[in-house]
């Protein structure tokens, strides 16, 4: 049996603001992980990664990040992605302060 594919989102940093962005289903960059398109098929994930990377005037360092789909939308599976979607823990700055 092949290993099951871990669902992914396409993520990057915004060129101008530098903050964390995700690719949504309708091809816009969104600021919140919950609004990101969850990719459950490996071939489609690779295509969407290419879509994101083809927009260098908007996004820097585009990559696929693992997520776990839940009722409330995708959740990070690793603490690094959790910090990226939240902001630093020493100050109430970044995403957590913007929501």
């Amino acid at each position: 049996m092949p290993k099951p594919f871990t669902p992914k989102v396409v993520t990057a940093n915004a060129l101008l603001e530098g903050d964390v962005i995700y690719l949504s289903e309708n091809d816009t960059w969104v600021r919140e992980l919950r609004d990101a398109e969850v990719l459950t098929d490996e071939a489609i994930a690779q295509m969407r990664l290419l879509d994101g990377q083809a927009r260098p005037a908007e996004a820097v360092g585009v990559y696929l990040a693992d997520v776990a789909p839940t009722e409330n939308g995708p959740e990070p599976t690793h603490f690094r992605e959790d910090f990226r979607r939240t902001g630093p823990s020493n100050y109430f700055h970044g995403k957590q302060a913007e929501g």
Binding site: N13, L15, L16, E17, G18, D19, V20, P56, A57, V60, G61, T77, H78, F79, R80, F83, R84, G87, P88, S89, N90, Y91, H93, G94, K95
Partner: protein
């Protein structure tokens, strides 16, 4: 203090104009990120986890009050009202936006500052003893030579694409407060038969493969220093491994080739580099040196200090921990701790920066220093002014009396900001400091340096912490390895791992057990943690951390 010449000002202005155009070309799409990245790094601009980060050089850690005021302005106008002072005497802004960075650089240029070569594979900001020009134990002020090296290395055409970054530190004292043995090149000002020269160390470094620097030359005369350093960097530029970034630093080159071969290659190369120096560097050195003349120290009674020391226990506690002997009678070196218990090590708000600038202007001959231990130093203050200075610091949350104590922790930004980090550092530092503040034992414990890095690159200098903490990612969970016995002084040593690491919530209890073992085993309050560790070795600490069983198992295995 050094002031920019017209040449310096023009150079920085030109560079800023170039970078502004590069940013515009990146935004317009004429430059790809791959093309832009080395350009932004050359100008100190990183892209981290949540935002861009601008690293501004504070050459050899020296600032005037006007410069500190300008750093406050940047923090307020283009960041979130604070800045982070680093272990390389720089300041980092964590939240700038790309379009604003050229304006930030122009604002820095107004006060003779920049972010050039604070990143990239170049010779980085030259660091120095933060007590330079003030320390009682100094042979000579190391800053003129640090400034000479800064000018020589800035935009040096041969050294813009080195195998990797290259860091130089200079000390003017036998007591090494600049960690010269953990730098690619460490320079110590020395005197021999009435002549000033330089002891040159090479191949030190922390990171993945920590190494203590080795002596390359015991005495390089003043007139040979630049050609000699140029020969060292040039030998490494050819030999240094570009095939593997983990093997590219000069410490690996020295390790692979041996110090004797490197010394002989440098000697050969020196014969060539020396030809290219016509004495202009020596004339320049004399000009620079004149700008670092000591301030006009005043003669005044110290009664106000003595009275406050007798009357005010808060002042006394602060004076006991945060002051160091000054070379001038009646003066002291005062350290302003940026390690308030529970706060982020090295952070200062814009208001606090202005307060420190104002104190320097009114009482401190207009000078401030940033230490690699992430504190701010008032290098020249008359003791009679200290009660008033202390009162101002206290009113602004800057009078924490903990220099050199367990809560004076070095911590890198870790995974709260850094894209390279494998775990967080800041919350660990906050928790340790908060815990020992609750216990009220830190004065009793005495000198104990904890240093925390959030990844193997060791920006938090954990290898040379008396207690070092390294944050790693173990199967998707933050885990912390502890080392003991590291030392960043002239007796530099790399710490030894205690054993298996600890999850985040067990780090504070582990540190407590180490400290308890020290308190139980020390011969008296005068024996520091490091001395006890050197006398007894790892065994009692290992038992304290992992129990008797672990110790027994180890003995049987042996």
């Amino acid at each position: 203090m050094y002031s920019y010449t017209d040449f310096d000002a023009q150079f920085v202005a030109d560079r800023n104009r170039q970078f502004r155009a590069q940013v515009e070309r990146r935004i317009s799409g004429s430059l790809t990120e791959d093309e832009f990245k080395p350009l932004r790094l050359m100008n100190g601009l990183y892209l981290q986890l949540h935002a861009y980060m601008l690293r501004v050089a504070v050459p050899y850690g020296t600032l005037s009050s006007a410069q500190m005021d300008q750093l406050a302005l940047l923090a307020e106008k283009w960041d979130k009202g604070y800045g982070h002072f680093t272990t390389r005497q720089n300041i980092q802004y964590n939240w700038p936006e790309l379009r604003d960075v050229p304006d930030m650089l122009d604002a820095l240029a107004e006060v003779g500052m920049h972010a050039i070569q604070t990143s990239g594979n170049t010779i980085r900001n030259v660091t120095a003893d933060h007590f330079a020009g003030a320390a009682a134990d100094e042979v000579a002020d190391p800053r003129p030579v640090a400034e000479l090296l800064r000018q020589w290395s800035t935009d040096h055409p041969e050294f813009q694409f080195l195998p990797r970054k290259f860091k130089i530190a200079v000390t003017g004292s036998e007591n090494d407060r600049a960690v010269i043995k953990a730098h690619d090149i460490g320079i110590q000002v020395v005197e021999k038969n009435g002549r000033t020269g330089y002891r040159v160390l090479v191949g030190g470094g922390l990171g993945r493969t920590p190494m203590i620097g080795k002596e390359l030359a015991p005495f390089v005369p003043q007139e040979d220093l630049l050609p000699y350093v140029e020969a060292v960097v040039s030998v490494w530029n050819l030999l240094g491994r570009r095939d593997n970034k983990y093997k590219s630093r000069i410490k690996i080159t020295v390790h692979e080739h041996g110090i004797d071969e490197i010394r002989s290659l440098v000697a050969d190369r020196f014969l060539e580099t020396k030809q290219a120096f016509n004495g202009a560097d020596l004339a320049l050195f004399d000009e620079i040196k004149a700008q670092f003349a000591p301030p006009a120290f005043r003669n005044a009674p110290e009664d106000a200090f003595d009275a406050a020391y007798e009357a005010d226990p808060n002042f006394r506690a602060w004076a006991d921990t945060n002051l160091t002997a000054h070379r001038a009678p009646g003066y002291a070196i005062a350290q302003i701790s940026l390690k308030a218990h529970g706060e982020t090590p090295g952070d200062a708000t814009a208001d606090q920066m202005r307060v420190m600038a104002d104190i320097a202007r009114r009482f401190g001959h207009d000078e401030l220093r940033i230490s690699h231990e992430q504190n701010v130093v008032l290098p020249h203050v008359h003791k009679s002014d200290l009660p008033e200075i202390h009162a101002i610091l206290k009113a602004n949350g800057l009078a924490t009396a903990n220099i050199g104590l367990i809560s004076d922790i070095i911590a890198c930004p870790g995974m709260d900001y850094c894209a390279l980090a494998t775990a967080r550092s800041i919350p660990i530092a906050q928790e340790i400091a908060t815990r020992f503040e609750e216990l009220k034992t830190e004065n009793e414990i005495g000198e104990l340096k904890i240093k925390i890095s959030g990844c193997i690159n060791a920006c938090g200098h954990h290898h040379v912490g008396h207690i070092g903490i390294l944050g790693l990612d173990r199967a998707g969970v933050e885990n912390y390895q502890i080392t003991l016995g590291g030392d960043g002084s002239e007796d530099a040593a790399i710490g030894t791992r205690t054993g298996p690491g600890f999850p985040a919530e067990e780090v504070v209890p582990a540190i407590e057990r180490i400290v308890e073992a020290y308190m139980t085993n020390r011969e008296g309050p005068d024996e520091t943690f490091l001395q006890t560790y050197k006398r007894l070795g790892m065994a009692p600490f290992k038992t304290a951390l992992y129990g008797e069983q672990a110790e027994g198992k180890r003995a049987r295995a042996a």
